[in-house]
């Protein structure tokens, strides 16, 4: 323990010394000439890479002294490797940053034995969310009348990345509606799932908001797909309301309420809502390592606020990321709290369901 403390002290001292060296006044953090390494625990392709690459240059412009912000990738074990690495980082001088995603949150929540990281140790500075839309081929959509009552006898096939990933949310939703959805596991990204749908091999699919806007809306216009429901979005009280990006599409909550046998209360609903909250409204979070000083945290929070306040931010972020809500500073902290406070009962329910339906055991 004491060595750890010493290293930490030494690291802090070193950081302070560098800061002192770099600028005369300590209160005013100046990061000129430094390099901020923003580590993403996924490969160069995929949503998190896109997300970090979008923010990196903006952050660089907004931080005092315009340090270089580089995005580094540390893929492995479904992001567990990178997150475990970040848990060991102690240099809180603002040169180390980390970006987690829903796929980092879920193994943590489900008690995956490979998880050696603790979200409560880290310092969140910014978080963004997303939504999701499920859609059907026109022929089956004709049987969908705002309820899933007529969909219960159909054999659905769904291209899935894995039951313990974000796909947990749609799979559980369909299960609660009483639909027979058979996941075909092993696709590499949701784009592959959409292609399976387009080729007619899958007959149900979902996409996150930005991918839906980009990839599925053209299909809807061409009459090849029909939106079924969104996962919704959370209002200030934490209740599920219609997704502001898709105000005309009903939420899963509405469909569930209308469908015979589906309840928006009880263990299944609590579990669904808890994992939905962890995976969608607070999907990606930027962290500084544990033990980062208040000055540095405030500097980053201010910088992200500056990014958000850019007059062109709405325009460029809508194009690159979709209309995601963005939380900064204390809001990010509150968002993180919502994302990781999943009741024990919900975890037990999901673990039991994963084992029963898919034979998945986290060991």
């Amino acid at each position: 323990m004491s060595t750890g403390k010493n290293t930490r002290l030494a690291a802090f001292g070193l950081a302070a010394a560098t800061a002192l060296f770099a600028s005369a006044a300590l209160a005013d953090v100046d990061m000129s000439g430094k390099t901020v390494e923003w580590t993403i625990p996924f490969s160069e392709k995929g949503g998190s890479a896109k997300w970090a690459n979008f923010f990196a240059p903006l952050l660089s412009q907004a931080l005092p002294g315009n340090p270089t912000v580089v995005v580094k990738f540390m893929p492995g074990a479904g992001s567990t490797k990178g997150a475990n690495w970040f848990q060991r980082q102690k240099n809180g001088d603002g040169t180390v940053m980390f970006g987690s995603s829903g796929s980092t949150q879920f193994p943590y929540l489900l008690g995956d034995p490979r998880v050696k990281y603790e979200y409560n140790d880290w310092e969140p500075v910014m978080a963004t969310g997303t939504g999701g839309v499920a859609y059907l081929p026109p022929k089956l959509a004709a049987k969908f009348d705002g309820t899933a009552n007529n969909l219960k006898d159909i054999n659905f096939i769904y291209g899935s990345q894995g039951a313990t990933r974000l796909d947990l949310v749609p799979l559980l939703a369909w299960k609660m509606l009483g639909m027979k959805v058979e996941p075909v596991f092993g696709i590499k990204g949701r784009g592959d799932g959409r292609l399976m749908f387009e080729r007619g091999e899958a007959n149900i699919d979902y996409q996150t908001s930005s991918s839906y806007l980009k990839g599925v809306v053209p299909l809807v216009k061409a009459g090849k797909a029909v939106p079924m429901m969104t996962w919704g979005s959370l209002d200030a009280d934490g209740s599920v309301v219609r997704d502001p990006t898709f105000p005309d599409v009903p939420t899963f909550k509405e469909v569930c309420n209308a469908t015979f046998g589906c309840k928006t209360s009880g263990a299944a609903w609590d579990a669904w809502k808890a994992f939905f909250t962890a995976g969608f409204p607070v999907q990606k979070i930027a962290f500084l390592p544990q033990g980062t000083s208040k000055d540095i945290i405030d500097t980053f929070v201010k910088a992200f606020a500056k990014v958000k306040a850019r007059p062109d931010f709405a325009k460029i972020s809508a194009k690159r990321l979709g209309k995601y809500p963005m939380f900064i500073g204390d809001d990010a902290r509150a968002a993180l709290k919502r994302a990781i406070s999943v009741p024990e009962s919900a975890k037990t329910f999901v673990k039991g369901w994963l084992k029963k339906d898919y034979g998945v055991e986290l060991k």
Partner: protein, 677 residues
């Protein structure tokens, strides 16, 4: 007509994407590097692209494409230099050029041969690009017709083509492809997460081996070591003679031959897995068959240059079809290209059917344009610089090799930022050296490795979808699995295997290799067979509940083992002179080399071990100076100068790209300033 308008817009968008200073500079840079790579015998597009890979992370998409396409497109043009001037194929795509190109050069007609070759290459390249333009217009419905069973069958066709056709012994090709497939399964399985030939105690292995490591280890390292062992310049003379105009005229007189061979190149390029090593032979065969006067072939007939050279550039356009549109590489270099594309930009671009979606169509078309421009630029540079290039071939390779070692080690480390990368590189490099030595097809291994994951995934998913369809209705499932395209692909596969097995002896994908003693090839065979057996056993331990994780490695290992067994029986029954005992250490270049294999390899091991102790830059300093002094026998001043230049280059590149150097044991104990960290 809607498709047409979309395509036209994309085409003009692509135009504006390309004609930017930045992009064109990258293209020219790629072409120049391709020229250099093509000149080294044996170093072709695969090795060149592998070296480029680490620099692709986060690079602007179009610039990165320009760099790679520039290189890929020009290798089949520039490799002509070595084929014509020295009689050694510059890369596997221009072996047939040697047959008539080299005799022409001996007759003092090197310039004429080169001019004819360059004209044909340019023409072939443009035919390939034109074909690609039109194919993309009609491709989308075709792509949507390729469901999982069709994709699986296409991958199997590619594998069987490369396995059967890439060498003299189809069985060896099958074993090499199977080896690539099982090596590709190392690590956590996609479907159920079971570990295969890996352990959580060695975290490096759980993520599987990276393509960069495989590309560098299997292709670049063995060739560099082999070249280094001979310790000489590539060519002894730099004179080309006259006859440039005559060469161009020759091409014009045989323009229809050039057209036919270009089309052959395109078609062969489209068939996945067939790629570079056979296209020139097929074109050469066609050239002879269709010529009335056959007496001059092999003695310096210019038509023997025009045919193969038209086809080998055209194949790049064809080869981009399966690569871009289906994500199934047409050749070894396309396999690397595929991996590199995923690293570009923000990383959301991945080759495959989405390349045809309106979002990416402009990128796809910019590839086509880049291909055409690269061919033109490459030809101009080849002609313009031919004097200098001929002189370049007189540089001692020993002076270049340490820098290539340096780049390889750096590139390998970038793939995983882990010292395990260097260990893996050395291990894979050893396998590569043995595969080369005993004439096992390395392209088959590489394509097996690249296709391992897709084949397993397609098979598992097709099975899951089919199971679900069978549950609904038996006919529905049957229709799904055996659609018309699948049946056609099965027929093509069977026919190609049949023809391939009959004609295999003609094709020498990596030059002629003599057979030698029985012992060494047999030991290698047994080692490979043992690996198959261990893989089989290892996979069989996975729980039955996770059948999708175990069935593929078990099946492939069984096929590989059976191929090895058949080879073993042949080894016992045949005499030492049989093909099966091919061994480069017994006859030819390697056998007569000045330096031993192990001594040369030890230099590379020296660099890696030193790196693990003292970090990359310190290790590099010691390695470069001692290599230049002891192996290249330079004086102190020159040795220090060369080393300083090398290290400065490395630091510059790393700084520019924000890359780390591999740290060693030393860095665990002391905090050193950059670049020694």
């Amino acid at each position: 007509m809607d498709v047409f308008t979309v395509a036209m817009t994309a085409l003009s968008d692509a135009f504006s994407l390309i004609f930017q200073f930045n992009v064109l500079i990258h293209l020219v840079l790629g072409v120049v590097m391709g020229l250099a790579i093509g000149i080294f015998p044996g170093l072709g597009g695969i090795a060149g692209l592998s070296l480029l890979l680490p620099f692709m992370f986060g690079m602007d998409v179009v610039s990165g494409m320009a760099l790679m396409i520039g290189m890929v497109a020009v290798v089949p043009t520039s490799d002509t230099f070595t084929s014509v001037l020295m009689g050694i194929p510059g890369s596997s795509a221009s072996q047939a050029t040697v047959l008539d190109g080299f005799p022409m050069s001996k007759k003092g007609e090197a310039a004429r041969a080169l001019a004819a070759a360059f004209s044909s290459s340019l023409f072939g390249g443009l035919v390939g690009a034109t074909f690609l333009t039109f194919f993309i217009l009609i491709a989308r419905p075709i792509v949507l017709a390729f469901k999982l069973p069709e994709m699986l069958m296409l991958a199997v066709l590619g594998l069987s083509m490369v396995a059967i056709l890439a060498g003299r012994l189809p069985l060896k090709g099958v074993a090499a492809a199977a080896l690539g497939l099982v090596v590709g399964t190392i690590g956590e399985a996609d479907a159920g997460g079971s570990l295969r030939m890996a352990s959580y105690d060695i975290p490096y292995l759980t993520d599987g081996l990276k393509l960069v490591i495989i590309g560098l280890g299997i292709f670049a390292l063995p060739e560099i070591v082999a070249l280094l062992r001979t310790d000489r310049a590539i060519s002894s003379t730099a004179s080309l003679g006259a006859g440039w105009a005559q060469g161009v005229k020759d091409w014009w007189e045989n323009k229809w031959l050039s057209v036919r061979c270009s089309l052959i190149g395109v078609v062969v390029g489209i068939i996945p897995g067939l790629g570079g090593s056979v296209v020139d032979w097929i074109a050469y065969g066609h050239t002879i068959q269709t010529s009335r006067d056959k007496s001059g072939f092999g003695k310096g007939d210019v038509r023997g240059v025009i045919g193969p050279e038209s086809s080998n550039n055209a194949k790049e356009g064809g080869g981009l079809v399966p690569t871009l549109i289906f994500g199934i590489p047409g050749s070894g270099s396309m396999a690397i290209f595929m991996g590199a594309v995923a690293l570009l930009g923000s990383g959301d671009l991945e080759v495959g059917p989405q390349m045809l979606s309106p979002d990416y169509l402009d990128i796809t078309y910019s590839i086509v344009w880049l291909l055409a421009i690269a061919n033109v630029v490459g030809t101009i540079l080849c002609i313009g610089l031919s004097g200098q290039i001929a002189r370049l071939t007189t540089i001692r390779f020993t002076l270049l090799a340490p820098f290539l070692f340096m780049l390889i080690a750096f590139a390998a480390f970038q793939s995983g930022q882990n010292l395990g990368d260097l260990v893996a590189l050395f291990a894979i490099g050893l396998i590569g050296i043995f595969l080369r030595r005993f004439d096992w097809s390395r392209p088959a291994f590489l394509i097996g490795f690249v296709l391992s994951n897709p084949v397993e995934t397609y098979a598992n998913q097709a099975y899951q979808v089919a199971r679900s369809k069978f549950r609904t209705d038996f006919d529905l499932g049957l229709d799904y699995l055996f659609g018309p395209i699948v049946i056609v692909l099965i027929i093509i596969t069977v026919i190609s295997i049949f023809i391939g097995v009959r004609n295999a002896k003609i094709i020498m994908s990596e030059g002629e290799v003599q057979s030698g003693s029985k012992r060494s090839p047999m030991i290698f065979l047994l080692a490979i067979a043992t690996y198959f057996a261990v893989t089989f056993y290892n996979a069989s331990l996975i729980k039955d509940r996770l059948i999708t994780d175990k069935i593929f490695p078990m099946l492939v290992a069984a096929i590989g083992f059976a191929a090895c067994l058949a080879l073993f029986i042949r080894m016992i029954r045949r005499p030492e002179s049989d093909l099966v005992f091919a061994d480069r250490e017994v006859f030819g270049e390697d056998a007569g080399a000045q330096h031993g294999l192990w001594g040369t390899l030890a230099w590379f091991a020296f660099l890696l071990i030193l790196t693990s102790l003292a970090g990359f830059i310190l290790a590099l300093a010691v390695f470069l100076v001692s290599f230049m002094r002891l192996r290249a026998r330079l004086n102190w001043a020159m040795a220090l100068l060369y080393s300083a230049v090398g290290i400065a280059f490395m630091c510059f590149m790393a700084r520019l790209l924000h890359r780390d150097f591999p740290p060693g044991l030393l860095q665990n104990y002391f905090t050193l300033p950059w670049p020694f960290t």
